[in-house]
Every structure is written in C-alpha cells, then in structure tokens.
C-alpha cells in the first residue's frame, strides 16, 4: 500500500463558505414558523452549541483514489479525524455467480479494532456493521449499471480506520469514489450527507462527540445521485416533526451536492495526475483515461 504523505498533497479541500444565503433563508423560515404556530418541538430537551465551526459547515475533507495497488479501484477518505479506506475488487468472475444475469454487488464494512474508544470491535462482523453494510449497499447499488457485467461479482470492502462521527457518510462517499476509480459503469456517483437536529439548530456533519452528546435527537442521512436528482438512501432516527424533517432533508441534499463537486474535482485531478505520471507516449493509459472521463460526464 502506498503511504499518503499529506504534506506533499495539494488537493486538500474545504467546502466554500457560501452559507450566508442559506442562513438568511433559514431566518426567514424561522420567523414564518414562529408566526404560524408555536408547535411542540419534540427535540426540545437536547441542546448543544457548536464552538469550532458553523452549524452548517463541513469539516475538511480529503480524498485520494488509487491508494491500494492490488485493488481494481480504491479510495482513502478523511473527514478530519474520521478515516475510511475503501477498495473495490472486480467485476470479476466467481464460480458461484455463473448463472446471474447481472453482476452481484457485495458490500462489507468493517471497523478496525482500534477505530473507536467506546466500542470494541471483534474480528467477527457484528450487527451494527452488518446493518451499516446494508445501508451502504442500498445507497450505491442504484447508481451502478450492473447489467453490463453478467456472471460477475463486484466486491466493495470498506475499512473504518478511525471513527470520529459520520462514518456512514464517509463510507458511502468513499465507496462511490472507489467504484468510479475501478471504472465500473455507473449512472452517477453517490454523494452523502448527514445532520443532527437539536433544539433550534441543525448540525451538519457531526463529530463522534456531537453524536454521543445528542444521543436520542433526530438524525438524518441522505445519499443522492446529484445529476439525476435521485435520492438513493434516506435514514432518519429519533422523533422530529414534519417541517423539521423536510428542512433537514433539504439541507442534507444541499450538503451532498457540495460533496459531489469535491468528489468530481478529486477524480479529475487523480486522472490528470495519472496521465502525467504515465507520460503522453503511453497510449493505452491515455485511452482508459478518456474513457473514464467520458463516463463521468455521462
């Protein structure tokens, strides 16, 4: 595995701070709501004040494709302290899948034993991991053109190296990037975003600390194919009223659009880098790069 020397890497991305418009919209909405009704806030008990960033601000995101040399495609993703590594193997043939008309997608999420100080993870897959694998599977399967690869299997392995909140979002995003890196045909990449709704605030991209402090509050996760405007996954826990749900879903949709632009930029950058490294004389690589470029524009 190549080691990532962060200092030499220039594509560290910060989501631009164009939240002013959003904040204004939100203020307007709040006023409207107050005038309309003093409805009961189900999440009234929980309050939390974010100190180091705005409520609607993302943490810094870093992603890099082509990290694992043996895999067909891979992606390493950091959202500050949340670190996720995803590798994709396939589409490859297996004796079991000979009869399938479409490719089979296999998705596995694993927490490293040292990834969290709250929970201890065994080498065996536990219920939480299985459930999260299923969520990731459901989020990305809609984006892939599996009918293009009959009798094969696509394996997606996600390893959570460090858990500092928003693991699912990172995992879904990384998985989609890795699949794009592997050149699996897809309609669109899947970007994801999550939020925690507490009393009079919605916190985007929560850290592990925020997740534990606001336990029981409403949480929403949205994953989306932005160019199709299709929501591929939507999960909510905790009690929220209807308006809150719609508002935070919209907020998450905005967030995933932003993540999507970063994903796209990173993918283009990585292809350009690869092209540069291989040199212009290498035709085969040139062709594959173009093909991948086309695919993404599609």
């Amino acid at each position: 595995m190549k080691i990532d020397y962060r200092s030499g890497n220039s594509i560290k991305t910060q989501i631009p701070l164009d939240y002013k418009e959003y904040l204004k919209r939100k203020e307007d909405k709040q006023q409207q709501q107050q005038q309309q009704q003093q409805s009961t806030q189900p999440t009234g008990a929980i309050t939390y004040k974010r100190k180091d960033r705005l409520d609607e601000q993302f943490r810094q995101i870093f992603m890099k494709t082509g990290i694992v040399t043996q895999a067909s495609g891979s992606c390493y993703l950091e959202i500050e302290k949340t670190k996720v590594l995803c590798s994709v193997y396939g589409p490859r043939a297996t004796p079991k899948t000979e009869l399938f008309e479409t490719a089979k997608l296999n998705c596995e999420l694993k927490y490293a034993t040292f990834s969290s100080n709250k929970e201890k993870f065994d080498y065996l897959e536990n219920t939480k991991e299985k459930d999260q694998s299923l969520i990731i599977y459901q989020s990305i399967i809609g984006s892939l053109r599996l009918d293009k690869y009959p009798k094969t299997v696509v394996d997606v392995y996600i390893l959570v190296l460090n858990d500092d909140g928003d693991v699912l979002v990172s995992a879904i995003t990384a998985a989609s990037m890795a699949l794009a890196d592997a050149g699996v045909e897809m309609y669109d990449m899947v970007a994801s975003c999550s939020a925690v709704c507490i009393k009079d605030a919605t916190l985007i991209n929560p850290t592990a600390q925020e997740e534990t402090l606001t336990e029981g509050a409403g949480k929403i996760l949205v994953s989306k194919m932005p160019s199709h405007n299709n929501i591929t996954q939507l999960i909510q826990t905790g009690e929220l009223n209807y308006n809150n749900v719609l508002e935070s879903v919209n907020l998450c949709i905005d967030g995933s659009d932003k993540i999507y632009s970063i994903m796209k930029q990173n993918l283009i950058d990585s292809l350009l880098r690869q092209q540069k490294k291989d040199g212009d004389g290498n035709e085969i690589n040139g062709i594959t790069t173009n093909a991948a470029d086309d695919q993404m524009e599609e």
Partner: protein, 313 residues
C-alpha cells in the same frame, strides 16, 4: 417466489389505474386482527394477522445492573443505555426463502428498523398502575450529576444509576404476505401495551448489596404508557405511483420503498429507504405526508381496539 414479466406489467398497470389485484385502491389497508396476551411465559405478547402475514411478538422484562466501572471498560460491547432490545426472526416455515442464511439480512433490517423507530428517548413516557390507571412515579436519582440518566428511558428505572428494566422484544414472522415492517411495528406496540411489569421494591442491605422484594399480589402490576409509541407505514413505489400495505407479489415488482414511523402527535419517528432505485425529493415529501395521515388513522383505530381488549378482560 418469482413473478413473470407479464405479471409485473399487470400489477403495474393496475396500480396506475388505482386498482390492485385484490380489489383495493392505492391507499387502502388490509384488515388486520390483533390478539394480545397469548404467551403466558412472557411479560407481554401480541399476535397480528394482516391478511396472510402473521407475526408474533413477545416481551420479556429483565433486570439489568449497570456497573459504573464496567461502563468504561472497553470490553463491554452492549450499549448500556439501551432499554429496549429488538430481535426479529423470520421462520423458514413462512417462506422457503427464509431458510438457513436466507433471512439473515432481512432479520437485521427488520430489527434495526424497529430499533430506529424506538430510538427517541421519550418513546416510553411512563408507567402506570394497571388496576387503577394512576401514574406510577419511578424512583428518581438523588444525585443530579448524571447525564445518562436524563437522556434515556428513565421510566424503566428500578434503582437510579444501578438497576433498570430491560425489555427484550422478540418477534417471529410466522407467515409472510408482504408488509412485514408495518405488521411488526403494530404488533410490537400492542405487545408493549399488553406488557405487565411486577412491582418491585429495592431494599438497601447493610453494605453495598441490594435485595429485591416482589409484590405479593400478582395482579398489582405496572403497565407501559404507549401514548408516544410510534408505528411505521411503508410506502412502496411501483411504476410511477406509490401504494401502502403491499402483498408479496407487489413487493416483488417494487422500485423503492420508504418506511416511515409516525406517532400519535403526528411526528416522524424514523425513515428508512429500501429497494434499489432512487426517489426524487417531491415524491418523498408526498410519501411522508401520506404516511402521516395513514399512520394517524391506524393509530386511532388501534388504540380503540386495544382499549376494547382491555375492557373485555
């Protein structure tokens, strides 16, 4: 079970015309019958029959001790704050697909959905005395400096910061004809309503140890207030329309589904999307809105039915 392409097209076209294979319209629910208290060895139980779908839910209450030292130890894998533990098992007798490992992921999906539905700390508002319907005040913590205590189902407290009731909610799918999510949530709610917890008095011993004294009268028990307990409504998108309460056949030709939890104050308690294709935001709004209306209707019918059952006994 498999459906042929012509069957799929038949079902889809019917739904476009607002008539389904069994004569219902898109937002009609099938009739369901509810029985409670069938399992004598459990604290509470319910059986729901929704057409051919049949689920059985049993609630077992156990006393859990929370040890402050154990909490922080890394070896402890169980979330100590959880008072409700769900387990769903799809019997192979219900469908041959459930045999062996076939139902593994479905079981997890169903159990996690229930878990999400009950993830709000105020799901169980409180306990009341079964005999005279008066509110029962759980012992409250004398020391205030405890975060866990306030944030969770503190109504299931026996001794603050030490002993709690943990409810193990086990559901078995006996027969399946679609709409398992809704059936399970309704049956779980009924089982919780049926649950009777014995009255327990904790007696502080000379040193650290605490002994329990169970009330002599077997009918003097506590019941759970299910006012705030949600149920879920699954909206299934087939062709360009969405329907509720699907049969297995309809589920086989669905594009996507959205399971939405609704409680009696018409708040949304959980959302989970399933199926492989995507949904666009306006459809989701519509689905949530419809689910709210349908959910409230089911809740009111159900509450009435549960009261009737209670009066009969």
């Amino acid at each position: 079970m498999k459906v042929s392409p012509s069957e799929v097209s038949f079902i889809q076209k019917g739904i476009e015309h607002n008539i389904r294979t069994d004569g219902r319209s898109r937002v009609d629910y099938r009739h369901f019958s509810l029985e409670s208290g069938e399992i004598v060895h459990s604290n509470g139980s319910a059986r729901l029959k929704l057409s051919d779908t049949e689920v059985l839910v049993g609630v077992k209450a156990e006393i859990t001790q929370i040890n402050k030292e154990n909490n922080n130890a890394s070896g402890n894998n169980i979330n100590v704050n959880k008072r409700l533990i769900f387990n769903v098992d799809c019997c192979p007798s219900a469908s041959p697909e459930f045999e062996g490992k076939g139902s593994e992921f479905l079981n997890i999906e169903l159990a996690q959905q229930l878990d999400r539905l009950y993830s709000h700390p105020n799901v169980i508002v409180g306990l009341y005395n079964t005999n005279d319907n008066t509110k029962y005040d759980p012992p409250t913590a004398t020391t205030t400096a405890d975060d866990n205590e306030n944030s969770n189902n503190s109504s299931l407290t026996i001794v603050p910061n030490k002993y709690y009731w943990t409810l193990y909610i086990d559901a078995i799918v006996l027969d399946s004809d679609g709409n398992l999510f809704d059936a399970l949530s309704i049956a779980t709610r009924a089982a919780l309503f049926n649950t009777r917890l014995p009255k327990i008095k904790a007696i502080q011993g000379e040193y650290e140890e605490i002994t329990f004294e169970v009330n002599d009268d077997p009918f003097d028990t506590l019941s759970i207030d299910i006012k705030n307990v949600p149920i879920c409504v699954t909206m299934t998108k087939i062709a360009s329309q969405f329907v509720i309460d699907t049969t297995t056949r309809e589920e086989l030709c669905m594009d996507a589904r959205l399971t939405i939890g609704v409680n009696s104050s018409s708040n949304i308690c959980s959302i989970q999307k399933g199926g492989i294709s995507g949904l666009d935001p306006p459809t989701i709004n519509q689905m949530i809105n419809t689910a709210k209306v349908v959910g409230l209707k089911i809740l009111s019918t159900m509450d009435q039915a549960l009261l009737d059952i209670q009066l009969l006994k």
